[in-house]
Point group: C2
Chain length 364, copies 2
C-alpha cells in the first residue's frame, strides 16, 4: 500500500544519509589518491618544484580527513543511540552498508561541517552577529519583560544547527526549532545534548576545498566547537525548548493559532511555492502574532525541471504577505542592512555575499 511505500522511501533516504556520513573518510582518501596520481603524471621538473611542501600538505590533509570522520562517527553514533526507538532510523542503520555516496550527499556532509563553524564556533561569530542580531533585537524589543517571556512561544522553521533557537531559549522564550535535514538534526542533537565542555571537538571544515586558498595552512586549519556548551550553559527556567524533525508544512499540521512568533532566517527560499509557507505561517500564528524574516531568495528548487518551483522577487513576497492578512511593521531592503555571509570560509579568496531582506509583520 501507499503508506508502506512511503515508509520504504523514508528508510531509503535515511540510509543514504547514514551511508554518506560514514563514507566521508573514503571519499576524502579517493580525492587524495587522485591528487597523488596527477602529481606523478607531472614532468620531473614540475614534481621537483612542488616537492616536499606539496606531499607534506597531502599527508596533513589525510590526517584532517580522518579526524573529521572520527567526529562525524560520534555524531552519527549518538544520533542512532538517541533516536534508537525510531523504526525507520533503526532499520536504515541496520541495512546500511558502506558504499560510494553521490557527490550531492557528500556535499551535504561537507556543508554540515561548515554549518558547525557558522553556528557553534568562535570563528563564526561575525557571521552570527550579522544574521542573528537584527532578529534577536527585534524580538527583545517586542517582549522586553524577561520574566514573562516563557509564555511567548516561538517557532523557528529551518533551525539548522540550532544556534538561533538556543539563543532564544537563553533569553527566556519557549522555543521549538523545526528542521528537515537529518544531517542537521543529528549534528544539532549532538551539540545540544552530548557536548560536555567548550571547544571539546576539533574539525577541519575546509580540508577538501582546494580553490581560493591563500596558504596550505588556511585550507587545513582546525576549528573547535562548541564555543559554548548548551548542556552545561542551560539554566533552570520556566520556559520550554524542543526540536521537531520533519517538513515544516507537515509537522505544523495541527498548530492552528498556536504560536506567538515565527522566526525564519535563511529559510523561506527552501520553498517550492513560497505561498504555502505564507499560508501556513498565517494559520499557525495567534492573532496579533509576529513573523520575523531575514534572508535572501536563493530558491533551492530553481532550475530543477522535475520540481514545480515558483521563483518570485522580494517585492512580490512582501506584496503576497500583506495580501494574506499581515500588517507590515518593518520592511528593510538593500543598503539599510549590512551584507551577510552564510557558512562562509572567512579566509577564502571567494565569499558569497548576501544582501538580505528583513521584515517584521503582524497577523491581523
Amino acid at each position: 500500500g501507499k503508506d508502506s511505500e512511503e515508509a520504504d522511501e523514508e528508510i531509503a533516504q535515511t540510509e543514504q544519509v547514514i551511508n554518506a556520513i560514514q563514507y566521508y573518510r573514503r571519499y576524502g582518501h579517493s580525492k587524495l589518491r587522485h591528487f597523488v596520481a596527477v602529481f606523478r603524471r607531472l614532468c620531473d621538473s614540475h614534481q621537483l618544484q612542488l616537492a616536499s611542501p606539496y606531499s607534506e600538505h597531502l599527508k596533513k590533509m589525510k590526517l584532517c580527513i580522518d579526524q573529521n570522520q572520527r567526529v562525524l562517527k560520534q555524531i552519527l553514533s549518538y544520533g542512532l543511540e538517541m533516536f534508537g526507538g525510531d523504526h525507520s532510523l533503526q532499520t536504515a542503520a541496520e541495512i546500511s552498508q558502506l558504499r560510494p555516496a553521490s557527490e550531492l550527499y557528500m556535499s551535504k556532509v561537507k556543508s554540515t561541517l561548515k554549518q558547525i563553524v557558522r553556528d557553534w564556533s568562535t570563528e563564526g561569530i561575525n557571521e552570527r552577529t550579522l544574521c542573528y542580531n537584527v532578529v534577536l533585537s527585534a524580538i527583545r524589543a517586542r517582549f522586553p519583560d524577561v520574566a514573562r517571556r516563557h509564555d511567548v512561544s516561538i517557532l523557528v522553521p529551518g533551525a539548522g544547527l540550532g544556534r538561533l533557537t538556543w539563543h532564544l531559549v537563553l533569553e527566556g522564550f519557549s522555543v521549538q526549532g523545526n528542521e528537515f535535514s537529518l544531517f542537521m538534526l543529528f549534528t544539532s542533537n549532538f551539540i545540544l545534548n552530548k557536548c560536555q565542555k567548550e571547544n571539546e571537538f576539533t574539525i577541519y571544515p575546509y580540508v577538501l576545498d582546494t580553490c581560493n586558498n591563500w596558504t596550505y595552512e588556511d585550507q587545513i586549519r582546525p576549528v573547535q566547537f562548541p564555543d559554548l556548551c548548551p548542556a552545561t550553559a542551560s539554566p533552570t527556567r520556566a520556559n520550554t525548548f524542543s526540536m521537531c524533525a520533519g517538513d515544516f508544512l507537515q509537522t505544523t499540521n495541527g498548530d492552528d493559532e498556536c504560536w506567538s512568533v515565527v522566526v525564519t532566517v535563511f529559510f523561506i527560499d527552501t520553498a517550492t511555492n513560497l505561498m504555502n509557507y505564507i499560508d501556513t505561517i498565517h494559520r499557525i500564528l495567534k492573532k496579533g502574532g509576529v513573523w520575523i524574516n531575514f534572508g535572501p531568495l536563493t530558491y533551492h528548487f530553481a532550475d530543477m525541471d522535475d520540481e514545480d518551483s515558483i521563483e518570485l522577487p522580494y517585492s512580490e513576497v512582501i506584496r503576497l504577505v500583506k495580501a494574506k492578512g499581515f500588517k507590515m511593521e518593518r520592511d528593510e531592503r538593500n543598503d539599510s542592512i549590512p551584507p551577510t555571509f552564510y557558512a562562509c570560509n572567512e579566509r577564502s579568496m571567494l565569499r558569497y555575499q548576501y544582501s538580505c531582506g528583513f521584515f517584521e509583520c503582524i497577523k491581523l
Copy 2:
C-alpha cells in the same frame, strides 16, 4: 591521421558554439513554458494571488529573450563574415543545424551577456575600476613616457571581451589580447570593430536569473553597450593592437623573449597546471620584462576527475614564481586590496566577492 582528427574536433566544438548562440531564444522559451506549466498546476487561490503581475512578467521576459537573441545573432553573423576565411569556422557554420544545446553551453551564452556588462557598459564601471585600475596604475607608473609607449609590447592572455586590452591601447602601448573562448572572440570582435556609436545595442543580461531579485524590474532591466565605441574612439597612433585566438600555451610557441609586459587578470586559475603558465610567461618575456597579475584562484578544472588539475594556494604560486627566476617587486594580498566582483549583477541579493592577489615581478 591525427591532424585531421584534431581538425574534426575543432569543427565539432566550433559548431557547438554556433549552435548554442543560435539556440538561446528556444532555450529561453522552453524555460518560460516550464514556468507557465508550473503556474497552471498551482491551486486556484495561488494562481489568483500571483495573477496579472506574474503573467505580465513572463510576457516581458519573452520580449527580453527575443531581443537578446537578435543581438546574439548579429554578433554571430558579423563573426562568420569577419572570419569567413577560416576553414573550420566556415565548415562549422555550414553544418550547423539548430538543436537543443547543453546546459553548459547555454550557461556560456548567458555568461557572455554578463561579460558585456562587465567590460562594455556604464553599469560595469565599478567592477572595472576595482579590477583594472590597480593594473593600469602599475603599468603607467612603470612606463611614464607616453610618447615612447608604442615600443612597449604587452600581451594580455585571457583578454575576454578586450576592455583592459583596449585601455592599454588607448594609453599608447602596443598590445595583443589572447583569448581561447569563441564566445568571447565573436563578441569582442563585434564590439571592437562593428559597433558604430555609444550604447547602440540593448541586452537583458539577467532575464533568465529568477533567484535573488528584489523586483521583477531588476530581473528584466536593460543594459546598453558599448559605453564607448572603440571603432570611433580610436586615435591614430604609432602603436599596434591585435587579438589572437587560441590556447595561450600554444599560440605563444614562437614568442621567446618577445614581450615587454604580460598582464594576467582573472586568468591564471584557468590553468590545469599553473607551472606551465609560469614557465611560458618566463620564456616569452624579455629580460627585465614585467609580469603583472591580479585575480583569485578559482581553478577552472578543479574537481574534474578526468582532468589533471593541480590546485595550489596563493603563497605557493608566489614561491614558484620566485623560484622560476622572477624578482617579486610587489606582492599584495588580503586586506591591502579592496574586494572585487566578476561579471556580477550589482542589484542581486547574492554577489560573489573576490579577495584578489596582486603581484608585479621582473624576469631576471
